[in-house]
């Protein structure tokens, strides 16, 4: 591991994720273990930078130390779970489209795809120092970086499953549609239940 770090080959992952996501996806089968590990390290970084970005704009109290310690571990686990579930759903969507079967690579890809989110911290830091609509720009940059992450994921999914960009986009969106519809029906059932409860008392 030490030698791997010294070789600086791990930097290539970040270069490729920012410039050529398709080439990054090609790298996964060759360095499966290393890419998987680096993916999780990236997730830990993203969780840390997320906490710092939000803390920079929020009310600064001693609670920050809890957020940066326990909160970091919590965010990391939550993020890892999100990535695992999303990768499974995307793989299921790919199987519906006649491909799939590469969940491990998808997990690594989605972890790396979140890397641009770390850039939110320096951007937020600048607008905070300038005191120029920091909350607006926080939302604005977050949206922009999310779109960037989605583009990385789409290209990576297309490469891993050897499918076109359109089908790759469909595979990425299907899980969100599925989760959205499920949540909608759950909320509907919850509201009906609550209304029934309130009218019966």
């Amino acid at each position: 591991m030490r030698e791997y770090l010294r070789s600086l080959r791990w930097i290539d992952y970040y270069f490729l994720v920012l410039t050529e996501p398709r080439k990054l996806a090609v790298l996964f089968p060759r360095e499966e273990k290393a890419s998987f590990t680096m993916g999780f390290i990236t997730l830990a970084l993203v969780a840390l930078f997320d906490i710092l970005s939000v803390s920079l704009l929020g009310r600064q109290t001693a609670h920050f130390y809890d957020r940066i310690s326990y909160g970091w571990v919590f965010s990391f686990i939550l993020l890892a779970l999100q990535v695992a579930v999303l990768a499974s759903l995307i793989d299921a969507a790919c199987q519906l489209l006649g491909k799939g079967g590469n969940v491990k690579r998808l997990v690594a890809l989605l972890s790396f795809a979140l890397f641009p989110r770390t850039l939110l911290l320096p951007l937020v830091f600048i607008v905070r120092v300038l005191n120029f609509a920091p909350y607006f720009f926080f939302v604005f940059f977050s949206l922009g970086l999310t779109v960037w992450s989605a583009l990385i994921a789409v290209q990576g999914i297309a490469e891993i499953n050897s499918i076109g960009t359109g089908r790759s986009l469909t595979a990425l969106l299907l899980p969100f549609v599925f989760v959205g519809l499920s949540l909608f029906f759950l909320a509907l059932l919850g509201v009906l239940n609550l209304a029934g409860y309130l009218s019966s008392i």
Binding site: I11, Y14, L48, F49, S55, L119, L121, I201
Partner: protein, 316 residues
């Protein structure tokens, strides 16, 4: 090292730098905010004053309610008083009233509960808000000491029963009621016909008996002879200032004055705890929803469906 790696490495260094700067910035801002005086909120403890609020028309609330709902109506007030009674820290109870009164039974239940606390040597101080008339005053009279604002509307000692007479309207619309009853008075105070003199006399008896009970209880609570209260117990409303003059109220004063009086009478220190009624946000939310979309308060419902109610209530 190739050029691409150098670029990425500089981005990573920039990220680490911004993270370090962010941590320093947050820590410095935190230190500054800690230097400024902070108001510490510590939980109330030790001997103190319990606060009970009686707001709006007094009536009994149906027992239903969900597990997360606040108890309302006289049952809710009595439950709160029972909690304070059992709490060994409570040396005095401040009863804040802003009510036009309400149904006879509900008002009497609250009065009796307050008298029970008074017998246990718990100091009771009433603080009147905008309105503490009729049943609102009845409840206040159970307290050892009453304070009202100069502009508080109080008094209205009396009983009222209101029933609409819709006979003219029914005749005009050609509506006739089929009534099969077991006794001549079974449909007393019906809205579709005139009230007979005998029926009026029967209702008057209930009114008179409730009125006498009102007078007796006010006399007991205020420690005044009935003869001294009776001249002003003709249903008239009065300001807090006038009520002080007629000895129906002890002193003109605000909520803060009432708290100070409770401290003084219970021999509690200046900084003693004040135990306010607390409800969790879920309780408040569900009760708010029920009040907004659910059934009406019983008094309102009964009034709307034209059922006659005998009330200690100020009805302008």
């Amino acid at each position: 090292m190739d050029k691409n790696r150098k670029i990425v490495l500089s981005i990573l260094v920039l990220l680490v730098l911004s993270a370090v700067l962010a941590i320093i910035d947050i820590s410095l801002t935190m230190q500054e905010s800690l230097k400024s005086p902070r108001k510490l909120s510590i939980p109330e403890m030790g001997p103190g004053i319990g606060v009970v609020r009686i707001y709006g028309p007094i009536s009994m609330e149906s027992p239903g309610g969900g597990p997360f709902e606040m108890r309302q109506g006289s049952d809710g007030v009595i439950q709160r008083l029972s909690e304070l009674e059992k709490d060994g820290r409570i040396k005095a109870v401040l009863v804040r009233i802003n009510s036009p009164g309400g149904t006879v039974a509900a008002t009497q239940e609250i009065f009796n509960k307050l008298m029970k606390l008074r017998k246990k040597n718990i100091i009771l101080v009433a603080s009147m808000g905008e309105l503490a008339a009729s049943g609102g005053y009845y409840v206040a009279s159970a307290c050892n000491y009453i304070l009202a604002n100069h502009g508080t509307i109080t008094g209205s000692i009396g009983v009222i029963a209101v029933s609409p007479n819709l006979r003219g309207l029914f005749d005009k619309l050609g509506i006739r009621m089929n009534v099969i009853k077991s006794g001549r008075y079974k449909d007393i105070l019906s809205s579709y016909r005139e009230i007979s003199p005998e029926e009026r006399q029967l209702i008057q008896q209930i009114i008179d008996s409730s009125y006498q009970k009102f007078l007796k209880d006010v006399s007991l609570g205020r420690n005044l002879p009935i003869s001294e209260i009776e001249p002003y117990a003709d249903g008239r409303v009065m300001s807090g200032e006038t009520a002080v003059k007629y000895r129906l109220v002890d002193e003109a004063g605000t909520y803060e004055d009432a708290l100070a009086k409770a401290r003084e009478l219970a021999k509690l220190p200046e900084n003693c705890a004040v135990y306010e009624e607390s409800h969790n946000p879920l309780e408040r939310f569900l009760t708010g929803l029920k009040n907004a979309f659910g059934r009406d308060m019983p008094v309102e419902r009964a009034f709307r469906s034209a059922l006659p109610l005998v009330e200690y209530r100020y009805m302008p």
